[in-house]
């Protein structure tokens, strides 16, 4: 059994209204030195198999399901 972490973020050129809302809220709350916030998603996937094999399977799943490659990019790594 492997645990694989997938981080999904909007591509840098895609506008992120949620991140902007968090940015403006952070300023209102006194975190005035915050200059940018981008909001993304994190998935923790448990999968039968180990190492490279599990990683490859989840990478395929991330490409087809967890992320939309038109607007998002993702990274896949084995959890410690």
């Amino acid at each position: 059994m492997a645990r694989v972490v997938v981080d999904v973020m909007l591509k840098p050129e895609i506008h992120d209204p949620q991140g902007e809302a968090v940015l403006s809220a952070s300023h209102r709350l006194g975190f005035g030195n915050v200059t940018e916030v981008r909001q993304g998603k994190r998935f923790e996937v448990e999968i039968d198999g180990t190492g490279e094999q599990a990683l490859a399977a989840v990478e395929k799943m991330a490409h087809e399901l967890l992320a939309n490659p038109v607007i998002e990019e993702f990274t896949v790594r084995l959890a410690q």
Partner: protein, 223 residues
């Protein structure tokens, strides 16, 4: 003429879409997300709503439903398909249409009448309109901002695949004011605002939207 209207768990506008089909003079055929055949319909509408709760991304789960496994190859073979709002999101997630729909620029859910300008008057769903015609329909979406990369956008515009643009101001940040796009073959269309809510002055701001549903009858009759 029989036009299928798919209901996914979380669909909202299937009844209004079926009503628009009836107003246009065709028979609406209810299809269920778990159906494994399309009941031999002549065209399909994917209605608005929040299929599967919009979990993961709008339309991302609906794309993998059994009915979509039938619809995708049928659409690629020429079956007319119209995705409205959430249906448009599903068509983009299924890669039947290019680009994607993202959160409105102003972050707020928008619920108001809008005027769109018909750009493509030859598609299966818009042949009853004239290019440049202004049509009043209803926009109600939180993730309605259409985006596509520059190359895709240039291709869409060069091939006449922009179905309609917002007229009199861009409500949600859609690139190039795009309200809807159509496949290169002209049979698969996606539209963010709702024509099915604007088919009768009793219940909508105009009857302008009916043209989408009468257009497809003509397209099917010719095919």
């Amino acid at each position: 003429m029989r036009i299928g209207v798919v209901t996914f768990p979380g669909s909202l506008d299937n009844s209004d879409a079926a009503r628009a089909v009836r107003y246009a003079g065709a028979e609406p055929v209810p299809l269920w997300h778990a159906d494994r055949d399309l009941s031999g319909v002549d065209a399909v509408i994917l209605p608005g709503g929040f299929s599967y709760g919009d979990y993961l991304r709008c339309g991302a789960i609906a794309r993998f439903s059994p009915v979509m496994q039938e619809l995708v190859p049928a659409a690629k073979s020429g079956l007319p398909v119209l995705g409205i709002c959430n249906g448009f999101q599903i068509l983009c997630e299924a890669h039947l249409l290019p680009g994607a729909l993202t959160r409105n620029l102003g972050r707020r859910f928008i619920n108001r009448d809008v005027t769109i300008r018909i750009e493509n008057d030859t598609s299966a769903w818009t042949s009853g309109y004239a290019a440049g015609q202004q049509v009043t329909v209803v926009l109600k979406s939180g993730e309605g901002a259409y985006i596509a990369d520059e190359q895709t956008l240039a291709g869409l515009q060069a091939r006449g695949q922009v179905l309609a643009r917002y007229s009199g101001g861009n409500p949600n940040g859609s690139v190039a004011d795009i309200a809807g796009v159509v496949s290169e073959a002209g049979n698969v269309a996606g539209l963010m605002p709702h024509p099915e809510h604007a088919i009768d002055l009793l219940t909508g701001p105009a009857a302008d939207g009916l043209g989408f549903f009468t257009s497809v009858l003509k397209a099917v009759a010719v095919a």
